[in-house]
């Protein structure tokens, strides 16, 4: 058991795990992730592709191997921290004795003898030591020990950092298990009561409704989008509960689900009017109906259906304007679906069907695409972020410093010892102690010069 916990608490294990995780992450950026099956076979050949798949390399960051390593790292972190915390705690709480001694083991130590001229030396030393914050004093026979215990709690900083990482892990797990990522397209004016959730086949019903009152896109002169904005109303039991605009980067939360403006598009709405010309008789027919219904051909000889719509069909780098993709049904003709373009009414003649289709009019409605997520782990993750950003500076740029100044009088002389230790950044500590030493010496010498 101790062997296992020694292994689990070793920094060597941490380094190995971090390196392996980094290497796997690199692999995950080189091999395309979560692509449809055939792609890997084409890229790497059958054998390699199936090897990658069985190792989980095609969905690296959710693969059992990767997740297990993260779990291992977490365990490493917990065991290591539990292992070390008691010792650190002792060091934080430690109150060193203030009895006179020689401080031979201290990383920083200087001593000198000064002639005693002025009995006021204590006052001026107190002045100098004032900048060290709280200074304890203890008298001994013929002398005094000053002691400053500076920021012992910074030793806990590294535990704050390590806990912050655990919080990220826990928050991530909670989000993955109890959260979801959904999406919903809502037409202008439409009300919906469900969203489509990634990884689920049926739509997820909501216990409220969302209505899109309006959708607007603004463009720059360059044609790049400037702003998307949906005006949403959330309804509960048919009553309006919240009306709010939704813009990119400004999400809105309702009923525990957060909505993000993520995309938009347009589709056909209302009535679509076609003009059909019979290619044999030259007779012209007008066919109209709602976009989502089936249309009947003249004389009830079959019908057709709109299966796609583009407000600007682009093909081979050219744009052809609005068009509908039409699928004929029950006509006996075996025609694959074809595009009917509003701006090119003659084009369909070339297909050589019974009728030439022309698109006379249509109504276009915009829909707004919303990302709809729930992530109950996000608060923990953000807490982790904050703790990490607090923990780093404390760990890196502060240190626990203990400083002793001992002044003993030996008859006509004062024996002055300045000693101290810092738990990190010793170079800077030494420098600041040298400065302190200078100040102490000057203070004592000034006293000398005074009559």
């Amino acid at each position: 058991m101790t062997k296992l916990s020694n292994f689990l608490s070793s920094v060597k294990l941490t380094v190995v795990l971090l390196i392996v995780l980094a290497v796997l992450s690199v692999v995950g950026t080189v091999i395309p992730q979560q692509e449809p099956a055939g792609l890997y076979e084409r890229m790497y050949g059958e054998g390699t592709a199936s090897l990658f798949r069985s190792l989980g390399f095609t969905n690296m960051y959710a693969s059992p191997l990767f997740v297990a390593l993260l779990g291992f790292l977490g365990a490493n972190l917990v065991v290591c921290s539990l292992d070390r915390l008691p010792k650190t705690w002792k060091l934080v709480r430690n109150r060193p004795s203030l009895n006179p001694r020689e401080y031979k083991q201290m990383p920083y130590r200087r001593e000198q003898f000064v002639k005693l001229r002025n009995p006021e030396w204590r006052k001026s030393l107190s002045n100098v030591l004032g900048r060290l914050g709280k200074v304890q004093e203890k008298e001994f026979d013929g002398g005094i020990v000053y002691f400053a215990n500076r920021t012992p709690w910074v030793r806990l900083g590294v535990y704050v950092v390590h806990s912050s990482i655990l919080l990220l892990f826990v928050g991530g797990i909670i989000g993955a298990v109890w959260g979801f990522k959904g999406h919903i397209n809502i037409l202008e004016g439409e009300t919906v009561d469900h969203i489509d959730v990634r990884g689920r086949h049926e739509p997820k019903p909501l216990d409220f409704q969302i209505r899109c009152d309006d959708f607007n896109v603004e463009f720059y002169d360059t044609g790049a989008p400037k702003e998307f904005r949906s005006d949403l109303t959330f309804l509960e039991g048919g009553k309006e509960a919240l009306s709010s605009p939704l813009r990119v980067n400004h999400p809105v939360t309702f009923g525990g689900i957060t909505f993000y403006q993520s995309s938009y598009g347009s589709t056909l709405g209302g009535e679509v009017v076609f003009e059909l010309v019979d290619n044999q008789t030259g007779e012209t027919y007008t066919v109209k109906g709602p976009a989502s219904d089936d249309f009947s051909l003249p004389g009830d000889q079959g019908g057709f259906r709109i299966i796609d719509f583009q407000n600007n069909l682009v093909s081979r780098g050219m744009s052809f304007g609005p068009g509908v993709f039409v699928h004929l049904m029950g006509t006996g003709e075996r025609t694959p679906p074809f595009w009917v373009l509003q701006k090119f009414p003659q084009l369909d003649q070339r297909r050589g069907g019974k009728y030439t289709f022309a698109l006379k009019s249509f109504q276009e409605v915009y829909y707004t695409g919303l990302q709809a997520n729930r992530d109950p782990g996000v608060a923990l993750v953000y807490l982790g972020f904050i703790l990490m950003l607090i923990g780093f500076p404390v760990t890196f740029f502060m240190s626990h410093r203990m400083i002793w100044l001992q002044v003993g009088s030996t008859g006509k002389n004062l024996k002055v010892i300045l000693a101290g230790t810092a738990h990190r950044n010793r170079l800077a500590f030494s420098k600041s102690m040298d400065g302190l030493w200078e100040e102490i010496s000057t203070a004592l010498n000034e006293e000398e010069r005074q009559p």
């Binding site: 380094v15 971090l18 995780l21 992450s25 360059t222 998307f228 400004h250 993000y260 996000v378 950003l389």
Partner: protein, 281 residues
């Protein structure tokens, strides 16, 4: 003077400064180093002017935004942060030999921004997702962190050269600072860089969360910034393992900076990503 003219000139000024520092390193003419510093300072001021002008110009175009939104602007800012970081360091430690190892990074960044055909230097309007204060915090912290890592990398190269010479018993490079000092400063830069990189990843993640509802989506750029972060975390922990100091730490620091460069450039050109810098080039 327009921002683009100013920034083109900056490129040559940093080249001049690099040459002066290198001259000092090779021939040890004190005056070259002094000039190197003044030239770098002049370049830095003009660089600052260029960034501010570009900011103003974007407002004149009616698409005002902080000049931190595409690859060109980030390269210019990167050069600025490197020189800032270096000048502070030189002032603090007075080690002018370091200039030859660091200032060239700023030159390369500016040269790449100015001369590469794949970097579009026009001021572009911001698409909605990029309109966020988190994004500005993200770019600023990341690049300050990268600059600290660049300086640490330069120092690590210097460390390796110096300690190799020393072990070979040569004293030919006496004028380079002592290895313990180089190591100490380099470690400090890594700590600063690590805090800033962490802050950069965090602000980026908060931004992604506000724009798309996901604080982490493993896109290649994100993943590479995490890899970089892991490399430096390895460095911090390796110092607690027996026998890991000096040269090995210097090597990890160089590897770490290579990861920074890959996150920044490699991902855009070698891997497919969704980041805006990739999309705009």
């Amino acid at each position: 003077m327009t921002s683009s003219l100013a920034l083109s000139i900056v490129t040559f000024i940093y080249l001049g400064s690099s040459v002066l520092y290198l001259f000092y390193l090779v021939f040890r003419t004190r005056v070259a180093a002094t000039m190197g510093t003044w030239v770098a300072l002049g370049g830095f001021l003009l660089n600052t002017y260029g960034i501010i002008m570009r900011w103003i110009e974007s407002y004149d175009l009616g698409i005002g935004h902080a000049p931190l939104s595409n690859l060109y602007e980030s390269l210019v800012f990167f050069a600025w942060t490197i020189i800032l970081c270096y000048l502070i360091l030189e002032r603090k430690y007075g080690q002018k030999t370091v200039g030859a190892f660091v200032v060239p990074f700023a030159f390369f960044s500016m040269a790449y921004a100015s001369f590469s055909s794949s970097v579009d230097s026009r001021i572009q309007p911001l698409i909605p997702a990029l309109k966020s204060n988190w994004l500005i915090a993200h770019v600023v912290t990341c690049f300050l962190g990268y600059a600290a890592f660049a300086v640490a990398c330069g120092l690590s190269v210097m460390y390796l050269i110096k300690s190799k010479k020393q072990r070979a018993g040569s004293d030919g490079l006496k004028f380079l600072p002592d290895p313990p000092l180089i190591e100490d400063v380099s470690y400090k830069m890594i700590l600063i860089g690590f805090v800033l990189l962490s802050a950069g990843i965090i602000t980026g993640s908060v931004w992604a969360h506000s724009a798309w509802g996901t604080y982490w989506s493993w896109d290649p750029k994100e993943t590479w910034s995490l890899i970089t972060w892991i490399v430096y975390a390895v460095l911090l922990h390796a110092r607690y393992m027996k026998g890991w100091s000096g040269n090995r730490i210097a090597v990890i620091s160089i590897v770490g900076f290579c990861c920074v460069l890959f996150t920044y450039f490699g991902v855009n050109f070698l891997l497919s990503g969704l980041h805006s810098y990739a999309a705009s080039s």
